[in-house]
């Protein structure tokens, strides 16, 4: 398993380099000019100077190599310096956002907590709710519980978050006035009442995303459990005289986990990607929202860096899913 992991990590390097190149070229080919928002009164020569100051005067391959150097050498050094108080990165050029002229990584670090709190929490809730619902729905197939569960997950599946989000805002903020409709990022938790406020402003976006994610996971869980509940080895387990709890939670559940683990593990990178639409609806200025504004502003370094981070996470969680398969299923041996 260790060899497998190392081999896969080594293989990930060329994969990721290729991905970064593709993203870079795509962004370079894309229409849009970072200078577009500069007032027309600025003379063209000055604009040209500004372009050069942003590094846009260089040819494509030099810019790409520069970005690689900054991302893989300078930024880790900065992080290292930040953690241990050293100064390896002093005087070196970091990746700078075209919009804010501040280092991309600092902006990411600023936005990360909001996204992780709202999207990450909803993902954890969704998993915690969906797995038991899936198990019970499958065990009592066609019961009332199963029918209601199916109905709710159909709603979660089919109603887009921009609709359910707005609906919640209309009902709970506008009509009932229970929750604020806008997420206040500057809010700080200092005492009990500010904590309650934080909970209140998180409630609706978390709920919308939980419903959406739980719908998917619970469906997968149910289908997978149903597949396994009718297997012969389940009858064997009952013939052994095991209690239903052991039969369902040990024998059936473990065998049913593989497709569910895939869905859950591959969904984790999307947490960091932020739920772009939901963040937009509730004005949570997390990573998803940042990506959207960066795309509007043709902020290539920002888009490049963010999409590349997502790519890294996807490759990483693919690997984690594969390792989990090996743990869950002894038939899968990678060495």
């Amino acid at each position: 398993m260790l060899h497998f992991t190392i081999r896969r990590l080594l293989l990930a390097i060329p994969t990721l380099l290729f991905i970064s190149l593709v993203i870079f070229l795509l962004l370079d080919l894309a229409p849009g000019d970072p200078m577009a928002s500069i007032p027309l009164t600025v003379p063209p020569e000055v604009k040209e100077k500004m372009r050069e100051a942003l590094g846009l005067g260089e040819p494509v391959h030099i810019r790409f190599l520069n970005w690689l150097y900054q991302f893989f050498v300078v930024e880790p050094q900065v992080a290292f310096d930040h953690l241990f108080g050293t100064n390896f990165a002093e005087g070196k050029q970091r990746i700078i956002s075209f919009q804010s002229r501040s280092p991309v990584m600092s902006v990411v670090a600023e936005r990360m907590p909001q996204t992780l709190w709202v999207v990450g929490l909803s993902y954890i809730f969704a998993t915690l709710i969906a797995v038991p619902i899936g198990i019970i729905s499958a065990y009592r197939q066609y019961s009332w519980f199963d029918q209601i569960g199916t109905f709710i997950s159909m709603i979660g599946f089919s109603i887009p978050t921009f609709f359910s989000g707005v609906l919640l805002i209309v009902v709970f903020s506008v009509i009932l006035g229970w929750f604020p409709s806008i997420y206040d990022t500057t809010h700080e938790v200092t005492d009990w009442s500010s904590f309650v406020y934080q909970m209140k402003q998180m409630a609706m976006p978390v709920f919308v995303l939980t419903l959406y994610n739980a719908a998917q996971v619970s469906r997968f869980m149910r289908a997978s459990m149903l597949d396994n509940l009718n297997q012969d080895y389940v009858r064997t387990a009952r013939a052994k005289g095991l209690s239903e709890k052991v039969v369902v939670l040990v024998h059936v559940l473990r065998n049913s986990m593989i497709p569910v683990v895939t869905v859950i593990a591959l969904g984790v990178p999307t947490i960091f990607g932020g739920a772009i639409i939901t963040e937009q609806v509730f004005q949570v200025n997390g990573l998803g929202q940042m990506l959207i504004t960066a795309i509007y502003a043709s902020d290539a370094p920002m888009v490049q860096t963010l999409t590349f981070i997502f790519a890294v996470l996807i490759v990483l969680f693919n690997l984690i899913a594969d390792i989990l398969y090996g743990i869950l299923d002894p038939r899968i041996r990678y060495d």
Partner: protein
């Protein structure tokens, strides 16, 4: 051997066992009928004997085996195992009685949990039903592996790493773990190739002798049943049509269905094979959801009479230990 088993005690007593599966259809899933997989069977199994249960595919053999162990909630009837009535017992209560009765399943691949090692599969019943220490459990598991002829070194391997015959040995070791008295063997050799079949059947016989087991041996392989069983019950469409000792049944089958079934056994000697007169049955087995009126076999019976289409024959003992359900023998 027969005499000593027949004089023995009745270990399993099945009376009027019925197992009907409901059929639901239509928008509101109304119950529109039922598949009468097992429709009123009765027999006794004596301690230490092997009762063979034969019949063609879909006649309800496996269902009968599972119903007797109450792996299903039966529709009607009474089952007494070792003097205890288990027909209406609810499942949680039944759990405590599982150690007495076990089952060897047909498909050795599918019936073993693919995610568990051999030691875990065999040892799991011990976790549930005994308070052995870890070491005692390990000893017991290894002992069982010896008993069924599996190498002790294989204890930590997984089912997919074994051949079909070895997997069936795992299944047998698993069934033996709790020292059962009664084992239902549900076509234990059907999924194995012929050379391995003999090994497994011989193993079952050796274990029977060693542990004093009682078997219900379900099979469609008549030669194998002839080899292992002491008495044989023949099933057709959810009913037992004939029940007799092995010698009696193979020498002088009474029921027309048994006669047809036995005439289908291939004869190894080619010169004799030419002379064998086969009784070929016409038509298909009726659907168990709509069995014919009267005798279940009346649609295909070569010796059908008018009464067969009206009245359902009941089992009659025509000689000592030889029961037949057929109107041909009504007066004898």
């Amino acid at each position: 051997m027969l005499d000593e088993t027949n004089s023995g005690n009745v270990l399993v007593e099945v009376r009027d066992l019925k197992m009907h599966f409901p059929i639901h259809a239509g928008v509101f899933k109304k119950r529109v009928g039922e598949v009468k997989a097992v429709d009123g069977i009765s027999f006794d199994i004596f301690e230490g004997e092997t009762l063979g249960l034969v019949g063609e595919s879909g006649c309800g053999k496996s269902t009968a085996g599972r119903a007797i162990l109450r792996l299903y909630d039966i529709t009607e009837g009474s089952i007494k195992i070792d003097g205890v009535e288990i027909g209406p017992t609810p499942q949680p209560k039944l759990r405590e009685m599982r150690p007495t009765m076990q089952m060897v399943f047909q498909d050795p691949q599918a019936s073993l949990n693919p995610r568990m090692s051999v030691a875990a599969i065999i040892g799991e019943p011990l976790d549930e039903h005994t308070d052995f220490s870890k070491k005692e459990k390990r000893e017991k598991v290894l002992g069982l592996m010896d008993a069924v002829g599996l190498n002790r070194d294989f204890a930590n391997r997984y089912p997919h790493e074994f051949s079909g015959g070895q997997r069936q040995r795992i299944g047998i070791a698993r069934a033996l773990a709790l020292n059962p008295k009664f084992i239902v063997c549900d076509e234990p050799i059907a999924a194995l190739d012929v050379s391995i079949q003999a090994q497994v059947v011989n193993l079952l016989e050796d274990l029977q002798e060693e542990f004093g087991l009682t078997y219900l041996f379900i099979s469609h392989d008549l030669s194998m049943v002839r080899h292992i069983a002491d008495r044989v019950a023949v099933m057709y469409l959810g009913r037992v049509v004939e029940l007799a000792t092995r010698e009696e049944l193979f020498r002088a089958p009474k029921h027309p269905y048994t006669q047809a079934l036995l005439s289908a056994v291939p004869e190894p000697d080619p010169s004799l094979e030419e002379k064998v007169e086969r009784i070929l049955l016409e038509g298909d087995v009726p659907s168990p959801s709509k069995p014919p009126k009267g005798c279940n076999f009346c649609t295909r019976c070569p010796q059908v009479m008018d009464i067969c289409k009206e009245i359902d024959p009941t089992g009659k003992e025509i000689a000592a230990g030889h029961q037949v359900a057929c109107h041909l023998y009504a007066d004898t």
